[in-house]
């Protein structure tokens, strides 16, 4: 009688082990994806760190890289154990490590949950860093001769072109900042002198924007200077003109880019958590089968012993 239950469970166990092995390798692939996304995010932050005052927090990408690597390692180990579980000889050496392994998996899931939370919550930090960084970026646009800020102009121009944006909140941010260096202003010119003296801080402010704010989709050649002066240009009304320069601010554009990246990574981490929980529950089921099998094999061997004893007594 104890013979039948073992046979039925064996088929189910084989199927379980196979399914579990597949899930482990799927988890390894997901771990690799998380790792590469972490590296990608880190590179993207580094690319525009100048616009964030070199002050941005690399906590999220570093955590993603760590979590990805751990996921690969843990799930590869689990896959190896699962592969060996069908062979009792090989499995005996893994058996003592099973419980610690399950505990590690549980703590790893907690780490994943923390990472997912950080992915969603750190977006606020990114927003604030961007706001501050862009404000300074616009301020230092003209300082192409100052060491440490030589490339701010280039970075900001390329960002405005790539993200189709102008200024921090909108294009008017450029009106409040002197973005043409004094080196290129003819101080002997009366117009220049008037403008500089009319400003409290002696800055040369004007209602103009850099060329990188220009929209290539505009039907007319770009109007960069005297933007609020309708009479300076033929057939121009600055209130109705929408296509001339980009109307969105770079903070919104950059933030939506980074937040979509962080949201998708957070979603991927949640999917990974669900996958890991499924793997964990199947691993527990497999562990239960093992303990049942060892008990039933003990029962089977003891019943075999009693039947043999009976046989020998009968013969005797």
């Amino acid at each position: 009688m104890p013979f039948m239950p073992v046979k039925f469970n064996l088929q189910k166990r084989v199927k379980l082990a196979q399914g579990l092995w597949m899930l482990y390798w799927l988890s390894v692939i997901v771990g690799i994806v998380i790792f590469s996304l972490g590296i990608f995010f880190k590179i993207e932050l580094r690319k525009r760190s100048e616009l964030m005052d070199n002050n941005e927090s690399h906590l999220v990408p570093n955590l993603l890289i760590l979590v990805g690597a751990l996921a690969c390692a843990i799930n590869a180990f689990g896959g190896k154990v699962c592969h060996d579980s069908l062979d009792p000889m090989k499995f005996t050496k893994w058996k003592p490590m099973l419980k610690p392994y399950l505990l590690t998996c549980c703590s790893f899931n907690v780490l994943l949950l923390l990472t997912a939370l950080l992915c969603f919550l750190m977006q606020f930090a990114v927003y604030l860093t961007l706001a501050e960084g862009l404000k300074n970026g616009i301020k230092f646009y003209k300082d192409t001769d100052t060491p440490g800020r030589c490339f701010m102009k280039r970075t900001l121009d390329m960002t405005q072109i790539e993200f189709r944006c102008c200024g921090n909140n909108n294009y008017r941010d450029w009106f409040e900042v002197q973005w043409i260096s004094n080196r290129y202003l003819d101080m002997s010119n009366d117009e220049v002198k008037d403008r500089v003296f009319s400003n409290v801080e002696g800055k040369f402010l004007m209602d103009s924007v850099p060329f990188s704010c220009c929209n290539p989709g505009s039907p007319r050649p770009c109007i960069q200077h005297h933007l609020t002066n309708n009479s300076a240009h033929y057939d121009y009304d600055h209130r109705t003109e929408e296509l001339n320069i980009w109307t969105h601010g770079c903070r919104e554009a950059l933030f939506s880019y980074y937040s979509s990246m962080m949201n998708s990574m957070g979603a991927l981490i949640i999917i990974t958590i669900l996958l890991e929980l499924e793997v964990l529950s199947l691993e527990r089921t497999q562990e239960k089968f093992f303990s049942f099998k060892s008990r039933s094999s003990q029962q089977h061997s003891s019943s075999k012993l009693t039947s043999e004893l009976k046989h020998t007594t009968l013969i005797a």
């Binding site: 280039r154 290129y184 033929y234």
Partner: protein, 369 residues
């Protein structure tokens, strides 16, 4: 004289068939690669096709796409055939298909070579097409209200921004073109009217360039108007002038971009061609070896495989005769049922008449008895 004769034992034939089966499956993948490369090139060309005057360059990706598809189909069939060739009985099924299959493989392998060579030879045509296309694009830059040309301004601006270039050969090309539409010119202003009058064709030409020519690497804010007049701007020295706008012409930039892509594609296609040539040679050997086995009658015996049964010249001559005779299928030279006067009968007729009288022209003459 047989070309490339190799003797195969039964075991060697089976091994060859197995190897060719594997190579054919790899060829299916290389065919898919060819298809993918052709598709990629087509998309890259279509991106900037508005600045190309003729679409002749599209022959290259189309050739690669069709050859790739043909490679997939032919090698898929070839894999099946080669697998069956290991067994003499199964080979009988494919016996009649083998020769057409080898001919098709030879034909598409040469197409692959043509595709690779086209990648390298299209450069001249591309340069001409870009020159004319960019010239007309710059002329129509201002026509954002004309249907069919509305987006030329945007395309050209994006091209100059992305490829870091300005104009056709250089930024001075913009000085010869009116790129500001009359809709945005104040015709009541004396400056504008003067400029229009001073030009023969009444065009508004100025030494200014569009904003997309501005270099992001320049340390100073971009100078777009009066670009060639250094005294018009404060502290506009030679170095500032060099860095202010993009120096490269867009024709050069696009040519380099496409040449780079096509050189790498051409190299890959050449490697694929060499691989296909290998497969073709193997298949030809297998075909001839199997046919010789059938001719000998003993499936376990050794057989010869070759590339050509006779020398190249003789094969070419015999094929040419076959093609010539294909056109003669309705002629009656060899049909015994039709009465055709032979030359021997025609000669007998004049010899009979010769002793009585000479018949020079063949007209009947009255004999004098």
């Amino acid at each position: 004289m047989v070309v490339g004769k190799v003797t195969f034992t039964k075991l060697e034939r089976e091994k060859l068939a197995e190897v060719l089966w594997l190579l054919n499956w790899i060829s299916v993948m290389t065919g898919a690669t060819l298809f993918g490369l052709g598709l990629f090139l087509k998309i890259e060309i279509l991106k900037w096709q508005e600045v190309m005057s003729d679409q002749g360059i599209l022959y290259v990706p189309h050739m690669l796409i069709t050859t790739g598809l043909a490679a997939c189909c032919i090698n898929f069939l070839g894999g099946k055939i080669c697998l069956d060739c290991a067994d003499t009985n199964k080979f009988l099924r494919w016996k009649l298909v083998m020769m057409p299959y080898v001919i098709c493989t030879f034909f598409f392998t040469s197409c692959v070579l043509v595709g690779a060579l086209m990648c390298y030879s299209i450069r001249g045509q591309l340069e001409e097409s870009l020159f004319l296309g960019l010239r007309s694009a710059m002329r129509f830059y201002k026509d954002t209200d004309t249907p069919g040309r509305c987006y030329l301004k945007r395309t050209l601006d994006l091209l100059q921004i992305q490829f870091h270039c300005c104009g056709n050969a250089g930024y001075r090309d913009w000085f010869h073109v009116q790129w500001i539409s009359n809709r945005y010119l104040d015709m009541t202003s004396s400056a504008v009217v003067d400029r229009l009058r001073s030009n023969v064709e009444g065009k508004y030409l100025a030494d200014g360039v569009p904003f997309s020519c501005c270099s992001t690497f320049s340390p100073r804010p971009c100078i777009q108007q009066q670009v060639s007049n250094r005294s018009a701007h404060f502290n506009f020295d030679r170095q500032s002038q060099q860095l202010n706008l993009w120096r490269r012409g867009c024709r050069q930039a696009l040519l380099e971009h496409y040449t780079g892509i096509m050189q790498s594609i051409g190299l890959t296609v050449l490697l694929i061609w060499l691989f296909e040539l290998l497969v073709l040679t193997g298949v030809r050997y297998l075909q001839t070896a199997m046919e010789n086995v059938l001719r000998l009658g003993d499936p376990d015996s050794e057989s010869d495989g070759w590339i050509l049964e006779n020398s190249l010249a003789e094969t070419a001559r015999s094929n040419f005769n076959i093609i010539k005779n294909l056109g003669k299928c309705y002629q009656t030279d060899n049909d015994p049922n039709i009465n055709v006067p032979t030359p021997a009968v025609e000669q007998e007729v004049p010899s009979q008449l010769r002793p009585e009288g000479s018949l020079t022209s063949g007209t009947p003459q009255v004999q004098n008895l």
